[in-house]
């Protein structure tokens, strides 16, 4: 099995080098004349006002949380799907129960208004 993953390892190395080539070429070909105006942050052509921080919106965090729970659920379900042939029928029902419990969680989140982008 490790030979198959060796390909991936080398692929990561090579794929990391490929995008570097244009950047390196650009380093030689592109002009490099920084001046203070160019280096300022872009805010539709105006001066920036205030620090660079974003108002904490808990909604982002909630979406990430729900995604995390479903991600783990799906990670559990993949072996169940692969072993499908060897499973008796009630094992399929066990998987369905698993899905339904978490669908109940989604329903709870929905009813409590956690999925609204307010």
């Amino acid at each position: 099995m490790q030979n198959t993953w060796l390909f991936i390892g080398i692929f990561i190395a090579i794929a990391g080098v490929f995008p570097l080539l244009p950047i390196v070429i650009a380093r030689f070909l592109a002009p490099h004349k920084p001046n203070p105006i160019k280096l300022e942050t872009y805010e539709c052509g105006m001066e920036t006002v205030g620090d660079t921080w974003v108002q904490f919106k808990v909604q982002y965090y909630i979406y990430a949380l729900v995604f995390l729970v479903f991600d783990i659920e799906i990670a559990f379900l993949f072996p169940w799907a692969v072993a499908f042939d060897a499973l008796p029928f009630f094992a399929v029902l066990e998987g369905v129960i698993f899905i339904l419990i978490l669908a109940g969680g989604l329903l709870y989140a929905w009813k409590k208004g956690a999925l609204e982008w307010s």
């Binding site: 991936i8 004349k33 539709c44 660079t52 979406y63």
Partner: protein, 394 residues
């Protein structure tokens, strides 16, 4: 096995014989793997160049204009011209930007998309590496792309870039849920996660067995790559250019290339998972035909993506997330349960195919009625035009 019947295997056999006589076995194996990697990665990158041209031409035709036709015959060299232009643009890094993350983000973005190509089965026997967890690997690699967006938005030290990055990541992780669930349906139908097995098991194309799941996969993939109608991430009128506001020159070019490559990769994945991959008449004997079939099917998927892009308007972020969590996720869960139960009941039975098809249609109809009932409950009253007398000058 003549040369023309299977050129890749013939060439690789030649090279490996040559190497194995020259070097000790481990090194020869390493160099063979290296060559394979370079071939697959270059294929992906070269396709991008052609793809940008195709995209611009087709988008132009949808808009009743011609598209680039000056640089080279039919505008074929337009992408090269753009690349040269981007190479010569100055690379401006904002002064308070986080240099390490700022530089790594575009590279990570391209790497994340290129890594998918390592497990794509081009033809029987032509695959980078046949991981036994190919499908899940593709989902995992997508998370690197998400990380690169966060890095790009944060390191730019720009309020709007950061805001754009957060919204982009919220969209991407939300749409990953129905994508993963519908990704499980082909895995269920093929009883395995390996990409080669997925194609081999498609005697009946999976789009016939799970049409609604295929559509949900396509929709969530379009959202994953940030295309219209889910264009919010780069809507120029809204948030400047989103998370890559502060990127100039070739780094922007890399984000750009990564997006196009991702769009085509989605087409290829759709073709492999639902349209039967390289399967077609004669693909077993002539692997080159398999590649052609795959590219044709992938082009169909890519054309659909471009078609949707040119046709539909952009939707708001709250509409988009509501669509995902309140419609796509429950629907895909219902389809997964349906597919599992029907697959087990009709195992080995010839009635499997019609049963799955009918089951999908039933789920679709039921969900339509549910949605209609829900929309009736929450609809606001229609505002009609009240007649008013025309103002007359006194």
């Amino acid at each position: 096995m003549s040369f023309f019947q299977d050129p890749v295997s013939a060439i690789s056999a030649l090279i490996s014989n040559f190497l194995y006589t020259l070097l000790p076995q481990a090194w020869a194996h390493l160099i063979m793997t290296l060559l394979g990697v370079v071939v697959v990665a270059s294929f992906g990158l070269i396709i991008v160049i052609f793809l940008i041209w195709v995209e611009r031409k087709i988008a132009a035709r949808f808009q009743d204009r011609v598209g680039p036709n000056r640089a080279g015959p039919y505008g074929l060299l337009q992408t090269f011209a753009d690349m040269v232009k981007l190479l010569t643009k100055e690379d401006v890094i904002p002064e308070k930007a986080d240099r390490l993350a700022f530089n790594i983000a575009p590279i990570l973005s391209v790497v994340a998309v290129l890594l998918i190509w390592a497990v794509i089965p081009f033809a029987p026997g032509w695959i980078g590496t046949d991981l036994n967890v190919g499908v899940l690997y593709i989902a995992a690699v997508g998370s690197f792309g998400i990380l690169s967006i966060l890095m790009a938005g944060w390191s730019s030290n720009n309020k709007y870039a950061l805001l754009g990055a957060f919204r982009a990541v919220a969209q991407l992780i939300s749409y990953e849920v129905p994508m993963l669930i519908t990704l499980m349906v082909p895995v269920l139908l093929a009883r395995g996660m390996g990409m080669m097995d997925m194609v081999r098991d498609q005697a009946v194309w999976f789009i016939v067995l799970a049409p609604v799941s295929a559509i949900i996969f396509l929709v969530s993939s379009i959202a994953e790559i940030g295309r219209t109608p889910f264009d919010l991430l780069e809507a120029e009128s809204e948030i400047v250019a989103g998370y890559h506001t502060e990127y100039t020159g070739m780094k922007f070019g890399l984000f750009f290339a990564a997006e196009f490559l991702h769009a085509f990769t989605i087409g290829v994945l759709f073709a492999i998972l639902f349209l039967g991959g390289w399967r077609g008449p004669g693909a077993e004997e002539f692997p080159l035909l398999g590649v052609i079939y795959l590219m044709l099917k992938a082009s169909v998927g890519y054309f659909i993506v471009m078609w949707v892009r040119s046709t539909l308007p952009r939707i708001r972020i709250d509409q988009m997330l509501a669509l995902n969590w309140k419609f796509l996720t429950p629907l895909s869960l219902a389809l997964l349960i349906l597919t599992a139960i029907v697959e087990k009941t009709f195992e080995g039975n010839a009635w499997r195919v019609p049963a799955l098809l009918i089951g999908n249609v039933i789920v679709l109809i039921v969900s339509y009625y549910i949605m209609r009932a829900a929309s009736r409950r929450t609809s606001k009253e229609r505002v009609t035009f009240k007649k008013r007398p025309v103002a007359k000058p006194a």
